[in-house]
Symmetry: C2
Subunit: 282 residues, 2 copies
């Protein structure tokens, strides 16, 4: 495990000079089978896999779960290695944001809607730390999960706009047998909430069915999903969105052939879960 | 000359893979002997010199001189080559900022004072375009002029904060025989203004003398400089500053051993000139 930025950067530089292709898997730790899928994808696409473990304070808002976010570095290191990681890079916050740190990276537009609307500043924190991690680990390939769909859109934008010479690999969501998307935050759920949580994936499935059978009104689809979720459990719905999959612009009408991102964020007690599917209306 | 980002990036990647050390000299063109000094410094520090020529629209404010900024690409290419440039990279604005572009890089604090106070958004534009140019040209070394002293501070911050693995080389100001700092904007000066403009360097020299002979009050030094400049010509002084050379914090007192940046911005008619010297009080 490497904790020092200069050591990681030099290691990556030496690997590159030696002709090795590097893939990076940026994580906040608390690794689960979703992360394992990312590391395996990295393994398939590169000679060397760097998994970063960093619970980035700047992407958490006030009152969010930065303090209680699950941390178990020894377990993460073991899991990462077993999945095919060559180097775990796990810096401290003081290493990443030393005294006097003062630079922000802002991907305007897509950062202010959906998750970014509910969590102001979140994607500024994400974009900035991802750029730093890319500069430190010098990858040819960066691997992210479709679970954080908007994060993928923000990072794709970041990479294009800043001319980063890094290929983006996006790995599909891994789910529990009952459909719940794997998340490090699932551990927060009570037994009752855990039993209710699969309604999110069922609601996404309902959207797929409705669009598949010709429904074109986003309002009616979102309404049906909301009813389904509310009737299954006492939750707070932050949003249910049907948006253009690339620009994340909200769509009133599901047009044939246009790839859509159907996404949602729902709070079960103090636990906030997100999920999504992509659908192209026939 | 290369105008295409992908071509420049691939060229730089190939040079790196071949073990070559790359130095980049970012310019807005209108090259003069100050730029020649930058290119020569690059030449001394690297195997391959890339000079970029790009009049970056995002670092100009409303009412500034973006439209009339001097442009002569064929002449710049010839001068750059003669000074030791291997590749000139001269993209269009549409290549750098295509439809949908939406990412900003902001070095807070040092971007909002002095030049940044008079020219809001200027250093956001500078930081963003410099980061893009570094990502495109993949240098080991980036060469900037001390003429734009605050720009150097902003870029040093940017490089540190975002963990860019690039060494910063700063080249001293080149001056006309009468002391006027070389600038692409000197061509705007009328004959009368050109005759008056060396007062800026004389005023900086006055600050050096006063500090050297024991004056410690920034207010008295700035006052003497202002009087000297105002009495020599009918100008508007945007600022005269005595600041910590590293943080750019204004200093009330010139403390012994503390490196200071004495800088100024003065408008001769519609032409805005900047100049500076560094002084460490004895």
């Amino acid at each position: 495990m490497i904790t020092d930025i200069a050591v990681m950067q030099q290691t990556a530089g030496n690997l590159r000079s030696g002709g090795k292709r590097i893939a990076v898997v940026p994580t906040m730790g608390a690794l689960h089978d979703g992360h394992v899928a990312l590391i395996r994808a990295a393994r398939q696409n590169a000679d060397v896999v760097v998994t970063t473990v960093f619970v980035n304070p700047t992407q958490f808002g006030r009152g969010e779960d930065f303090e209680r976010y699950p941390r178990d570095l020894p377990k993460d290191v073991a899991l990462a290695a077993a999945a095919g990681t060559d180097y775990v890079f796990a810096p401290t916050a003081a290493e990443m944001y030393p005294q006097g740190y003062s630079t922000d990276v802002d991907v305007r537009g897509v950062s202010g809607i959906l998750e970014g609307h509910v969590r102001p500043g979140h994607f500024r924190g994400v974009a900035t730390v991802v750029l730093k991690l890319l500069n430190i680990t010098k990858p040819h390939i960066a691997v992210f999960g479709q679970k954080d769909a908007q994060q993928v859109v923000v990072i794709r934008h970041l990479m294009q706009d800043l001319n980063l010479d890094v290929a983006l690999v996006v790995v599909p969501i891994i789910r529990e047998p009952d459909g719940l998307a794997l998340s490090s935050r699932n551990v927060y759920l009570s037994a009752a909430e855990r039993a209710q949580a699969p309604v999110l994936f069922r609601a996404l499935g309902r959207a797929r069915e409705m669009i598949g059978s010709g429904e074109r009104s986003a309002e009616r689809i979102v309404g049906a999903m909301g009813t389904m979720i509310q009737s299954a459990s006492p939750v707070v719905i932050d949003y249910i969105s049907i948006a253009d999959a690339e620009t994340l612009e909200e769509q009133a009408e599901c047009r044939a052939g246009r790839p859509l991102l159907v996404s949602l964020a729902v709070r079960f007690g103090t636990t906030r879960l997100i999920d999504n599917i992509q659908i192209t209306p026939p």
